[in-house]
Amino acid sequence: MRCPPKTLAVLTAGLVLSTVAGAQAWLPPKGEAGLTFGYGNIYSAHHYGIGVDPPDPSAGVTRNQTLGLILGYGITDRLAMNVSIPFVDSIYHGTKEHRDLNGVILTPDDHHYHGTFQDYRINLGYQALSGTVSVAPFATVVIPSHDYATLSHAAPGKGLNQLLLGFAAGATLDRIVPGTFVEAYYDYAFVEKVVNINTNRSDYGFQAGYFITPTLGVRFISAGYYTHGGIPYDNPKDLPVEQYLHHDQISKSSSGTVGGGLTYVLTGSTEVSVSYLRSIYGRTGHAIDEGVGFSFSWSFSPAQIIRRAFPPKPVDSGLDKR
């Protein structure tokens, strides 16, 4: 029985949150707050093995929905932070359920939807360089919100503390094609060890965008990860019991996805976007056959909101007082 170590929930959370909750080459200015609500829906019909084997269609068949809420704030013109927490709801439809040592099917794989909050993500970014080329190193702390199930196809996440250190870089290509830009990020994730096994990971992503009109943009998206440590296995039952009980957390895995998206600027402080992703390669993990994401973002000034609630008095005439 092959089991996916990288749960689909992690990938869905990434679809919803990755581009807004972490790596950003262009950070908001001082005093600007942003609220993003995202929804992701991923369908997996199979998952990858450890080598060149074709994806196994009988083990996948998982649907995963994620609701994400991200709150960001520009602390200074160079320093910004955001926090997020996704709610994950997933179901397993396949025939190779995860079981405990007594052969009983584990709850997340019982063919019913199970929803729970996943991991807090707290991100701090620094605008080291801004202009035609922008660079923003960042640090992200990932903390599981509670002790959720981690062994199952439909597990909500890996349940591991992580520290991601990386950078995002972006550039405008206006001089070549007006309205175009590219953005990329890389981070190295220091992941909490499980049964003394290191599963540190590299994450990376790339997007290229073009504004068709001042309000409508189209994007090409690509993202992936590679686990540097971890244990490669074909059948987790071949592992020692201690490792079998954590095999979803400790496997050596990788993934690559590509897709596209549309962004529409509604009012100048609100925008909506839709995106589509699918896997192009992977190792020991679920394949994304259909991944659809939707997000709504609102940027606002808390200072202005406070002013609206408590307007200044009196409003003078504007005549010179010097």
Binding site: W26, P29, S269
Partner: protein
């Protein structure tokens, strides 16, 4: 996706792509206004147009982060293009900020261009300005030649490029961009 759904989706996208921009069209003549400035002078748009190569009207705020982000750029552009006959004027619309605050803010950030306090949103309504910062570039005939953001988050110097193109007699591309920032609160 059915053919009908596809058609509806394309129609929706076209509507989205063309909707939501300001009422004053590029190429239209901006309506005149006459208001006192915080410096104690009067600013009459038609008079400013006659005496300059171009007029830049900037809707700005003392508390909007995006407007404040461009304080230095506004100061530098005003100083640079003043030598080329371009006059900048700042407009602080609404009642959220007082004239004193606008005056102190201008002094603090070295904004030597005139600032108009527009408590009744008169100028904002005339030009249909919705955001801070939001820029309107008029030529010497009062014709709107550029409208939108000062620069994008992606650092495209849209307003600067527009002014340079206007002064060089070249077409302005893009002539309209989406201004992003804080809403100008109407009464």
């Amino acid at each position: 996706m059915t053919r009908r759904m596809r058609t509806a989706a394309i129609f929706g996208l076209v509507l989205l792509a063309h909707g939501g921009l300001g009422a004053l069209e590029i190429g239209a003549v901006a309506p005149d206004f006459d208001m006192p400035t915080l410096g104690g002078r009067r600013f009459t748009l038609t008079e400013a147009e006659k005496g300059h190569s171009a007029v830049v009207i900037l809707f700005i705020s003392t508390i909007c982060p995006y407007s404040n982000y461009y304080n230095d750029l506004m100061r530098d552009m005003a100083a640079r293009f003043e030598k080329k006959g371009v006059v900048f004027v700042g407009v602080n619309s609404g009642t959220l900020e007082t004239a004193d605050e606008a005056r102190n803010h201008a002094r603090e950030h070295g904004h030597t261009f005139e600032i108009i306090k527009d408590p009744d949103d008169r100028i904002a309504d005339l030009l249909d300005a919705r955001r801070t910062p939001e820029a309107f570039l008029l030529d010497s005939h009062g014709t709107l030649r550029y409208h939108g953001r000062i620069a994008s988050k992606l650092s495209a110097p849209d307003l600067q490029t527009a002014i340079e193109s206007l002064l060089d007699g070249k077409p302005i591309r893009p002539a309209e961009t989406k201004a992003f920032g804080c809403a100008i609160a109407r009464k």
